[in-house]
């Protein structure tokens, strides 16, 4: 078990290095000068530009730049942005609300996705199953921002049930609608995954054998069908934490939330390359961490994996 954990941790390191190098290269190894583009139409005076280049190591060879950036990641000191704010602080301000949003979405998609999926899978081919499939396809087909707008208009404006936008320091209620919107697509995937998994397990030999030894329907469903079906679903949910946080860019934009997405979008518009790379690096870290968590969850849920 410890060796398994150790080996997975070791595998994560090259992936993290590769992914951050890729991101860094994409932002900084491109034609055009990020510094020259600053300061709007007129641009900044040459001397100021030189100063900025020196401050951000942009005058160094690319690989040195990257290594210096990496040192910043490891020491949790990303430097300051072009406006002089500590990037670490910017990140620390942005993350809590996004984490809250992502976790709320996770709970929503897990509860409804698994619930409906179980129900649909148990009666595969029935009316509920058919309806659930079509609705889940609709959730996947309609882009998040459209769902967001429709929710704003219908639930926020016309029905007035939930606040239309979150604004600064949002509370639970004002985050509810954004969380619902953020959860929509993943909910559909969770539903479909649970449904397939349940339907498959229902016809598994060990389920039949469990019935043969006298277990009643609810015992078989709970202890065998659901327990085994949840393995792929839980791993999907784990990996989804990372995807939800980066998916929040759009949701936060629509609902005016000042989280990671809002900050990142802001930095992109302003050309704050260092902030962009720092924020995405943290997101990638979360994503990699979530995937690692999934592997451990998998090992915990499926005893066959543990000694592999």
């Amino acid at each position: 078990m410890l060796w398994y954990l150790g080996r997975r941790l070791l595998q994560v390191i090259p992936v993290f290095l590769g992914a951050t190098l890729l991101l860094y290269a994409m932002v900084f190894l491109r034609p055009g000068d990020p510094v020259a583009a600053l300061g709007g139409e007129r641009g900044l005076p040459e001397s100021v530009q030189e100063q900025i280049r020196a401050d951000y190591n942009l005058d160094q060879p690319f690989i040195v730049q990257y290594l210096l950036f990496l040192r910043g990641v490891v020491t949790l000191d990303f430097g300051v942005d072009f406006r002089g704010r500590e990037i670490t602080e910017v990140i620390a301000n942005a993350f809590p609300v996004t984490i809250q949003l992502a976790l709320m979405a996770l709970v929503i998609e897990a509860v409804f996705g698994i619930g409906f999926g179980l129900f649909a899978g148990m009666r595969k081919g029935g009316i509920f199953d058919g309806t659930a499939l079509v609705i889940s396809l609709l959730f996947i087909a309609v882009p998040t921002f459209v769902v967001g707008f429709v929710m704003q208009i219908v639930v926020g404006v016309q029905l007035g049930w939930l606040p239309v936008s979150a604004g600064r320091d949002p509370d639970f209620v004002s985050l509810l609608m954004p969380a619902l919107v953020l959860a929509a697509v993943s909910f559909a995937y969770v539903l479909r995954l649970t449904r397939t998994s349940v339907a498959e397990n229902l016809s598994a030999d060990y389920v039949r054998t469990a019935r043969a030894r006298g277990l009643n329907r609810s015992q078989v469903t709970g202890r065998h069908v659901l327990r085994n079906s949840l393995i792929p679903v839980v791993t999907f949910l784990g990996a989804d934490i990372g995807a939800l946080m980066s998916g929040a860019i759009i949701t936060e934009g629509i609902f005016n939330i000042n989280g990671v997405g809002g900050t990142l979008y802001d930095a992109i518009i302003r050309g704050e390359s260092v902030t962009v790379v720092s924020l995405t690096t943290v997101l990638v870290l979360v994503y990699i961490g979530a995937n690692l968590l999934v592997d451990l969850l998998y090992a915990a849920l499926d005893p066959r994996i543990r000694y592999a």
Partner: protein
């Protein structure tokens, strides 16, 4: 010999009621052909089998009609409207539907129906381009990693992991924000650049299981080269999950393109696209929400078509359903 536990060893005693000797009458001579080959109907390959199964489902026909319609609209928008999407009259801004303009006008006074028709092309082009790139590259990487194994697998799988570690939309946003030359091709390329790991993983897994089949060993013992085995035996047998995923991925790329255009970092405003039009409609969301619904409807219908097709194809090609 096991110890005998019975009351009537060797069957010498009289059998009990209900267990007397019984021999069924020999009927209909069904015994003669223990193992005869069907020769009465047409041969069915697996693909034909899948087709026969698909065509009996209404979902297949619904999605097929949607896809064909969208593709025709994308290829020949002129068949559906005589107007130009770029000729707009600000004085007609936000005017309601009227004869010749069934959806009314948007904030710039453009005909919404015409823009919705013309918007199809951007989505379809980006979706098809990105999917093609992803399938070609992802299949190649996955097949080589899975089939040749050893250090090929180590290197390619790590590379796949690295690209997989960056969420598609996040990566696309970051790259597109620093890209100046934004065309359908660059958008598709960026989406493909971070979209291929999925298909590489799927292909690798399938190839790994297909290459253990006995027909592959049989081909090896014929002296067939590795490359030829991969091309002739392994890849065709790995095609089903790739096709299924590609159909679904096409829909996902279309959504991703719309998302980028919506954020203003996808296709430039000069290109008519549903994402861009939704973004433009955002400004009037409180006053005229319906103008957002037309491009959104086109988008949703297209994606729905591909997703439903993916479902149908998956059911038809499912190896589990096929086995017996």
């Amino acid at each position: 010999m096991p110890e005998n536990r019975y009351e009537n060893p060797g069957g010498s005693a009289t059998p009990r009621p209900g267990q007397e000797r019984y021999v069924a009458p020999v009927d209909e001579g069904g015994l003669g052909a223990v193992d005869a080959v069907r020769t009465d109907d047409a041969p069915t390959s697996l693909w034909r089998d899948a087709w026969l199964q698909m065509r009996s489902r209404w979902l297949f026909w619904v999605s097929a009609v949607i896809i064909v319609l969208v593709v025709i609209v994308a290829a020949f928008p002129g068949l559906f409207t005589t107007l130009s999407p770029r000729v707009c009259n600000l004085s007609q801004a936000l005017e309601p539907p009227q004869p010749g303009h069934p959806f009314g006008f948007d904030r710039q006074g453009c005909d919404i129906y015409t823009r919705t028709i013309f918007g199809a092309r951007a989505s379809v082009v980006v979706g098809v381009l990105a999917t093609t790139m992803v399938v070609v590259f992802g299949t190649a990487v996955g097949a080589i990693a899975g089939y040749y194994g050893k250090w090929f697998d180590t290197i390619l799988s790590r590379m796949t992991d690295i690209f997989f570690a960056i969420p598609l939309v996040l990566a696309a946003i970051v790259i597109m924000s620093v890209t100046t030359n934004r065309t359908s091709f660059t958008v598709a390329f960026v989406l493909a650049l971070f979209g291929w790991p999925q298909i590489a993983r799927i292909t690798r897994g399938t190839v790994l299981s297909v290459k253990n089949n006995e027909f592959v060993t049989a081909a090896k013992s014929l002296g067939m080269g590795r490359g030829r085995i991969l091309w002739q035996h392994v890849l065709p047998n790995s095609a089903a999950p790739i096709i299924v995923y590609a159909t679904v991925a096409l829909g996902q790329f279309i959504v991703a393109e719309a998302t980028l255009s919506f954020l203003g970092i996808g296709l430039p405003p000069s290109t008519v696209s549903w994402g861009g039009d939704i973004s433009a409609a955002q400004g009037a969301i409180r006053t005229a929400p319906e103008i957002l619904l037309y491009p959104a409807g086109g988008l949703a219908l297209t994606v729905l078509g591909f997703m439903m097709m993916g479902d149908v194809v998956r059911d038809a090609l499912d190896p589990k359903a096929r086995k017996r």
